[in-house]
């Protein structure tokens, strides 16, 4: 006979908790790791086109974010959350949203803003209302418009530090429109070039193909739902498509709108940021459509050539409201009125 359990089990060592007692094994670092993994193709293509300068920006942003995270945790007396990889992810996303020629101080300042003002002051991961990387990007865009729009012309891995600069495809189109020139003379890259990423822009946003690949990986892993990217890109295609149909000489084709600029990066990686997007499926669809609507409006009729960041930030602000009004109907529940009085 084996040992009776009263001799080998110390009751005070037993763990007591509420149910359930098993878990799927998914945790926050694993989610973040998967997202980082999904960004690898986009990052590699960026480095391929913009050279080691892009890698420099990436490294600076990641280090800056991790450092800020650590310092803020120290200052606010919290347990250091570096292990959850969310700060590293913010750093990568911020870098991908910057021109490869960004000066070092601007990258570090951006990292500081992203983590400190974009996240930590709200209470850390989970409590920030706005996408931290985008808060930093928009902050930099407004504060340093010149540096933030010095787009390096991609010349491959060996792109020199003082490389020639040019405009992004969307910038070229906007400029042509303001000068009254037809779009055909704007000097846009070919669609194939844009698909692969051979164009001016933030170093991580250029290759629609590589980014979409990563996005599909996230969809397959279940970390993002189709509602946001499909709603986002679909709406942009719909509106720019209509505009293009009505006035093809003034408005770019929807294909260019998808391939050029930060739409794919935004739709798969920025708008889908869990903390700042809705939790319900219907809410995600509304959120995606809203992002698409705002992006299209800014691109077509706004002062900036690009509108993805602004659109996502604006929709971030609407997330609590969307969540509130898209709660699913409880199993066996009555149909709820949209604006029900709170009882």
């Amino acid at each position: 006979m084996s040992t009776p359990i009263k001799d080998n089990i110390a009751v005070e060592k037993l763990i007591v908790s509420a149910s359930p007692h098993v878990h799927s094994g998914m945790d926050v670092p694993r989610v973040m790791r998967d997202v980082i993994l999904a960004l690898v193709p986009g990052v590699l293509v960026g480095i391929w086109y913009f050279g080691l300068d892009a890698a420099r920006v990436l490294l600076l942003a990641v280090i800056g974010c991790l450092l800020t995270e650590w310092v803020m945790a120290r200052l606010l007396g919290r347990k250091s959350p570096i292990g959850d990889l969310s700060a590293a992810l913010t750093g990568i996303l911020l870098a991908m949203n910057l021109p490869s020629g960004s000066p070092w101080w601007m990258v570090l300042l951006g990292s500081l803003v992203a983590i400190a003002l974009g996240k930590a002051i709200y209470g850390g991961l989970g409590y920030n209302p706005f996408n931290p990387a985008l808060v930093a990007r928009v902050f930099l865009l407004i504060s340093f418009p010149v540096q933030m729009t010095r787009w390096v012309v991609p010349q491959g891995l060996g792109t020199p530090l003082d490389a020639a600069t040019g405009a992004t495809p969307l910038g070229l189109a906007k400029e042509a429109a303001s000068l009254g020139k037809p779009l055909a003379e704007a000097g846009l890259p070919t669609n194939a070039q844009m698909l692969l990423g051979d164009m001016g822009g933030s170093f991580g946003e250029v290759s629609a193909l590589a980014l979409a690949l990563g996005g599909l990986f996230l969809l397959w892993r279940g970390h993002i739902r189709w509602q946001i990217p499909v709603g986002f890109i679909g709406t942009v295609v719909l509106i720019t498509g209509l505009a293009h149909l009505l006035a093809p000489e003034r408005y770019l084709s929807p294909l260019v709108h998808v391939l050029a600029g930060g739409l794919v990066l935004g739709a798969f990686f920025m708008a889908t940021d869990m903390v700042t997007s809705p939790v319900t499926r219907r809410g995600m669809l509304i959120f995606g459509v809203g992002c698409g609507l705002l992006t299209a409006v800014i691109r077509l009729w706004g002062g900036y050539p690009e509108g993805v960041s602004f659109a996502i930030l604006l929709m971030n602000a609407a997330t609590p409201l969307i969540d509130r009004y898209t709660r699913p109907r409880v199993f066996g529940g009555q149909r709820r009125k949209l604006f029900e009085e709170r009882g």
Binding site: P4, N8, H21, H23, D27, Y127, V330, G332, G333
Partner: protein, 449 residues
Amino acid sequence: MKFKGGIHPQYHKVTADRAIRAMPLLERYIVPVGQHIGAPGEVIVEKGQEVQRGEPLTRPAGFVSVPVHAPTSGKIKKIDMYPHPLGRPQLGIELIPDGQDTWYEGLKPVGDWRTLDADTLRNAIRDAGIVGMGGATFPTHVKLSPPREKPIDLLILNGAECEPYLTSDHRIMLEYAEDVNEGIGLMMRVLGVTKAIVGIESNKEDARLALAASRPANLDISYELLETKYPQGSEKHLIYALCGRTVPAGGLPMDVGVVVQNVGTAAACLEAVRDGRPMTERVVTVTGSAVAQPENLLVRVGTPLQDVIDFCGGLDDHTGKIIYGGPMMGMVQFELDSPVLKGTSGILCLREDEVSQFEGGPCIRCGNCVDVCPMFLVPAQMGVLVERSRWEDLGDYHVTDCIECGSCAYVCPSRRPLVQFFKRGKLEWREHQKKQEAQEKQEVQESQL
């Protein structure tokens, strides 16, 4: 039909092939007075009294109440507070067996259920102390007494056993197929329904075959295989999956003309009527990686936890958790004397390294919980409300409709103790409601003055 939401945990049904074995008589039993939902019975025996197996130890106190019975013949040592599986000590009766295991002579077969009337059957079921054996422990005779304004046309038998690890219902359906079928017939007669459906998860096809093979003639019972998905055994979801009816939020199965019973309960009802035997034992799956020899055991009600586990060869030195029930909804145990109850379907022992610990990190709003919630709630937001003590807002989020299945916590990447949040939230929300009602009443009174 399939219900939306739910999860696919690892099933670990390692004891599925192990035949039910009876445990030998022990040196003592602790029979808690309260083993069911509702008022515990009144004790009708005294310290030092000799009792026989099956002799009632308590008398029901009210309609929603059943007696408990002596698990064997012997002498009552003490009536005192004892460890109870629900956590806090409760009144229990300690019995020292005399080793004879003689049955109480007051027990007589009630007769052939095919010829008895509904009231006689119901009374026999109550007197036998039968409660829902799936774990909810609601007195069976109450469930079999639907009010006149709720006509019942369908009896559903729960053989889903969707909890990982557990195999007790599976073994009962295999080894006692005839008793289960007859018990179903008995319940159909009590309810006056002509149709019954047994719902079985697709990983137990052999159980469906066994039941179908022994189906009594003249009874309209069908045996349906269901998708293997947790929580398939939840009453509301079982009903939806089997007949497409949706129990209204806050309602009961009888609101849609259905009564749901566990398959083991059906067999127990038959024994009570055919043999006059009250509920003094049940099948318990003793399992988990920390148990030396996992088994399906026939255990007397009142058997202390340590005796069951010792019979199964003892525990690993690094045992982290002992659970009554399954890993999704089971109750943690921390007293080795905690006795097996009528509702104890399994004893699950997990090694410390495989226990998933809650960490209570912040909600990252990933939405996984919203996707899996079979009640279509928004656990993410409810959890935050509980953390901020915003009890008054919880009703708006239908916290009382939470069935505590644990699917949300299972998928939460921040490992938040969501079920614990909602158990607390339900209590506080009801408290808040009560306060508000009292306040309104007072205001009405003041305005009348």
